[in-house]
């Protein structure tokens, strides 16, 4: 049966055996443990993910002074909320407005702001997105993501070539004036913080 990690080079069974072999050697050499694997998986499956970025966005929508701090120094502002760490040591938040739409990419590898978005989806790491979003962002957003950006809105692509980690502050949707930060956070999608999709509407 086909598995999601089968490729034209190796089957899931082959990759699994290879990794297990390497793992067994690293365990014997005192470098790895299965408990460390389990803990790391638990962190990024259950603790660190886009729900954290959504909390930051919702606070920025409801607290203008926080938003100012977030746009000035995103890592420091996120630390106020207990959010930060690996692959987000120096984060930069870029703001969408009526005239500017932002999106992030890493054309050279797959850099991504883990502390607020978790680990990247596979499409973000695969060649198509990395190759095309810098060259034809309007086409990719419209055709591949079903998320067209009007011609009069400037599209800004942030290619994460250094250890700075960019991510997007989407616009607060209309009709949410009565919602609190908790309800607003539920509207914020991972894709809206990458810049390839909308926030939900209430």
């Amino acid at each position: 049966m086909a598995s999601p990690t089968d490729t034209r080079l190796r089957t899931q069974a082959e990759i699994t055996a290879r990794v297990k072999a390497l793992e067994s050697m690293l365990i014997e050499k005192g470098i790895m443990t299965t408990a460390a694997i389990d803990r790391l998986a638990e962190i990024y499956e259950n603790e660190v993910g886009p729900q954290l970025g959504a909390q930051v966005v919702a606070r920025a929508w409801t607290d203008p002074e926080f938003k100012e701090r977030l746009l000035a120094d995103a890592s420091a502002a996120c630390t106020e909320m207990g959010i930060g760490g690996l692959q987000g040591e120096e984060m930069v938040v870029v703001e969408n407005t009526d005239t500017v739409h932002n999106a992030i990419v890493c054309t050279l590898c797959s850099c991504y702001p883990w502390p607020v978005l978790g680990l990247p989806p596979n499409w973000y790491k695969a060649p198509a997105y990395r190759a095309r979003i810098v060259r034809e962002p309007r086409k990719v957003l419209a055709e591949d993501f079903g998320f067209p950006v009007p011609d009069d809105v400037e599209v800004r692509i942030w290619d994460s070539s250094s250890e700075l980690r960019y991510w997007v502050l989407p616009q607060r949707p209309a009709g949410t004036e009565d919602l609190g930060a908790f309800e607003l956070a539920a509207l914020v999608t991972r894709d809206s913080m990458i810049g390839v999709g909308p926030v939900r509407t209430p």
Partner: protein, 227 residues
């Protein structure tokens, strides 16, 4: 180096394949491959720049056809062999064993210090900014051109920005220089800047999409003042 990993603007890459509700890890082996990065970083296999360069040196066709976490496994094999920790012949032998005995257990070992490291590093990270006494040669607002030559070894000077001119929009102070650290040299900090390029400058007015900007971070040695 000029390699297939440097994907910006490459054509014939197909559509973006999004997957609804994709799990964080699609298989158990992806969890182990992911954990190898921080565990082997702690063991001195690589820094993040050397890690990336090991992936860049993969066979080009294999790079494009394999899974993302297979790239990470490649690094551990490559750097582990260089460090004398992973014997490639032994790895082949064990791979065969686990293919024939997929349910055979892994060795058991406990290491509370490693677990503490994992919890700490996720929270604290490993910052790459480095104070430097060097005087910055450029400032926000300067128009700069990216040097067009093709360095060997690791660099973050992507091909699509080489020879192109843009404006510095932010100056970030010193940061580890990947062109040194990624080639197993010292950290050798250099000033880091963000440069704003118009799509017309990058792709030419004939094919550039309208009203489109690309920002790219560069280290000072990549730059010269625009003439």
């Amino acid at each position: 180096m000029n390699g297939v990993f440097d994907l910006g603007s490459t054509e014939s890459m197909g559509k973006v394949q999004t997957v609804e509700n994709e799990p964080v890890f699609r298989a158990e082996w992806e969890k182990a491959a992911f954990a190898m990065f921080s565990n082997c970083f702690r063991a001195g296999f690589f820094g993040v720049d050397a890690f990336r360069h090991s992936i860049e040196k993969m066979d080009a066709a294999e790079y494009l056809l394999s899974n993302y976490y297979e790239h990470w496994v490649h690094v551990v094999e490559d750097r582990g062999a260089q460090k004398g920790v992973i014997d490639p012949a032994e790895l082949e032998k064990r791979t065969q064993f686990f293919l024939e005995n997929p349910d055979a257990p892994l060795p058991e070992r406990e290491d509370p210090d490693l677990l503490a490291f994992v919890n700490a590093v996720v929270k604290s990270g490993a910052p790459a900014n480095r104070p430097t006494d060097k005087v910055a040669r450029f400032k926000v607002g300067d128009r700069v051109t990216i040097l067009a030559d093709s360095p060997h070894g690791h660099t973050r000077r992507a091909r699509y920005i080489r020879g192109r001119t843009g404006e510095i929009t932010a100056a970030h102070g010193g940061a580890i220089y990947p062109d040194s650290a990624g080639n197993d040299g010292p950290e050798a900090p250099e000033h880091l800047y963000t440069v704003r390029f118009t799509a017309e400058e990058l792709w030419g007015p004939e094919t550039a999409e309208p009203n489109n900007i690309v920002y790219f971070d560069v280290w000072e040695p990549y730059l010269t003042l625009a003439s």
